[in-house]
Symmetry: C2
Subunit: 501 residues, 2 copies
Amino acid sequence: MRLNTRFFDLEVQGLEAILNEEDARDLLVRPGDRLMLRGDGESVVAVAEVTRGMVSPGEVGVVGGAELPREVDVKPVSRPRSVDYIRKKMDGFKLERGEVKAIIEDVSLNRLSRIETTAFVCSSYMRDMDYDEVQWMVEAMVESGERIEFEEGPIVDKHSIGGVPGNKITLLVVPIVASAGLTIPKTSSRAITGAAGTADVMEVLAPVGFGVDDIKRIATEVGGTIAWGGATSIAPADDNIIEIEYPLSLDPRPQLLASVLSKKMAVGADKVVIDLPVGSGTKLENEDDAPTLAMDFIQLGRRMGMDVQCVTSYGASPVGRAVGPVLEAREALRVLEGGEHPRSLVEKSCEVAGVLLEMAGIAVNGRGSNSAEEALRSGAALDKLRDIIRAQGGDPEVSSEELEPGEHRWAAEAEKGGYVTSLDNRQIVGVARAAGAPRDSGAGLLLHKKVGDEVDAGESVVTIFSESEVKLEEARRLFKTKPPYRLKGMVLERFEESGRL
Amino acid sequence: MRLNTRFFDLEVQGLEAILNEEDARDLLVRPGDRLMLRGDGESVVAVAEVTRGMVSPGEVGVVGGAELPREVDVKPVSRPRSVDYIRKKMDGFKLERGEVKAIIEDVSLNRLSRIETTAFVCSSYMRDMDYDEVQWMVEAMVESGERIEFEEGPIVDKHSIGGVPGNKITLLVVPIVASAGLTIPKTSSRAITGAAGTADVMEVLAPVGFGVDDIKRIATEVGGTIAWGGATSIAPADDNIIEIEYPLSLDPRPQLLASVLSKKMAVGADKVVIDLPVGSGTKLENEDDAPTLAMDFIQLGRRMGMDVQCVTSYGASPVGRAVGPVLEAREALRVLEGGEHPRSLVEKSCEVAGVLLEMAGIAVNGRGSNSAEEALRSGAALDKLRDIIRAQGGDPEVSSEELEPGEHRWAAEAEKGGYVTSLDNRQIVGVARAAGAPRDSGAGLLLHKKVGDEVDAGESVVTIFSESEVKLEEARRLFKTKPPYRLKGMVLERFEESGRL
């Protein structure tokens, strides 16, 4: 059937072709069927949608971006073989290498509809995959995207499986290990549901949007990058999979493993440390699950020639005292400058950096953390961060003093004294987001009191920062409704308009 | 955020609100999040999509049909609780009554996105449901749609789980049992992937698109209907579920059970017979699975106060000799007229009708089939079908002689003799669809030889009918490429242009 093309600039999973219901009936096509659109030597396969009025009879709406002429020949074709392989996984069978590869390739190239990709993600969650299948998935993800190959090694990398607010350790770990002469081409994400991703925090200091060529050049030149992974096309299948996982709050083990390992493989990492935060609100609510996940990462790494070590860390409350892009950048910079800073942040950063120093043979086992602390103390890590900031196009002379969080502020004060027994991550993130984070970089929270700290009546426990009075008010209201602090096991529910609690 | 509405008439699952990426960023909204759109006293919740160009900043695209003013207030809201229940099912837990109800209600009201409904369907497939859960699903499906309540019983009904071409027995069963004084408000489907659904076949004789009020009126008046279920709003969740199952070729046991039983419950059926075709190409490829499925239907029926019996039937090749709307209507009518007809069709129809006659106490056990044959022989069933045709607005004087299939015809002849050992359903359907069925009602196949029949060299085995020369040619080409017949276990692969095989 000859139809006139009409283009719709909507982001969908799987290229879609919208037919008027009359044409769909003539072609015996139902929503979900595949159509081949062909014209002027171009041809694409799209998933059929059916409309009463969005396109007229004689037209085909093309959604998702395709190069096609004004008129195309449209005919039904069979669905991709990968849909059969997804069915096979749903039926509980182990997939072959070629089957995993076909699925990942089709996910990467946007050939599957949302229904089909959802079925894949759900089957991975409910049927799980063995090491073979995950390895094949990692390999297929790497092959389907951009890669970096460095001329010289070793290449090291770190990753945190996330979920903990205030986790700005990458801004310390990268300069520490790069100052020891290692190459660490780190890519990070922006916050999706959090208050600030590492890319959001680094962006306070320098641009972060680089393609793989720039990442390679900068990391070769100064030893490290702190870039935003979203500007590259590394493991593109992962983005389409995350689009499905997000609304279902799902993170199937095979996809978690493949997501992390494919990114590390793609940048050519030889030695990798993976941080597994444990505790309420993290991906590892039950600490007992950590050894199994760690072993999965290590074994899979070994299969692919990558030396992987894992560390577990306390994740039930924020890392350091600052939450939000500017506040976190300031806190990290202050540590590097040798200024006042939370001890827990330094410890975690040095432990993680120390593992890499030991893995690379730069520190003897058991002394990595000390070497890392020495890099902080000597100023070598600060100099290295300035190199990275310069190489990424930021101002290398920046100091923590100059970093100003939002001007609208509100401090919550304790109504009565006690000890802080818990600090709820989810509520802290909620308040930071209400205040404008991560979009407003100056928005966030500064925690004056952390778990175990003693609080006197009238003492300030937290300050909320915002770039707008309205958002500050919203954040304050949220803080009062669901206070993230518990003192001596009691929920502090009573607040006065003045801000006392 | 105040945005101007723009409406898109696209059929989607879950109302969608399309934001420009700039507005989405300001609202901290990602694809898959929920948005509340409110204005002029109207408010709806929609699933967010994000576009670069389909709508401009300041606009919100509304897809899926909603009554909203030109300007609406847009703000993020949390996702429905039913998504948590779907997660619970994915994690392998049994759902509570209220949880099942919430999911089905949200599916019915189009409140879930495709990703979410897919996760539900996949979880039902991979985790299965127990009788409690299926019963609650049936009840929720019935409650979420239209119902028929008859003043007088008993109300009987039949259903076939389908997959067999040529299965026109409803056109015989309904008039047989209605002629015995029973009420049978039968709704049927159109062909989705097949050559002719019962609604397509009945439409050759009379209109089939009736709402529940008309179905009740007609069934009360003449004892039965043969209507198209798609014109009613009985168990609307089922349509949204089928939209997910279709592209995945998935038919989870809980949904299969609930789909059938909810339709029977909704029309108030007391006594139901369910036909389970078994054999290659049906839903029960393995005959050993039939007793379990039968028991599921029976037990669930009992729980809901419905008397259910099941019959298995041979489904590996077509029922009767005709495939395609006009050809099937003609064959059924010929049986009722007492003309020449395939014995297998009469037997199957009378067995199924006989079960209902026995269940209703009209025939003694073991004699139902004979009573049904008597209704055929006496002409009572033919008179009853004429009543139904008249009540549905067709011509009651129609005779099989007047029903003319497509004028373009081609007969395949056997090149050498032998016995027919198999007849492939899928290939038969493929050829019928290529010839134009079900859209062109005159298109289809007439099988002159069936399994077990002897064929002489040069004898015609099948005739293909079409309303167009082009489609006939396509059907003929398909028939030659993949012949549906096997003689003596040999694939007949050699054809001559003359049409010989």
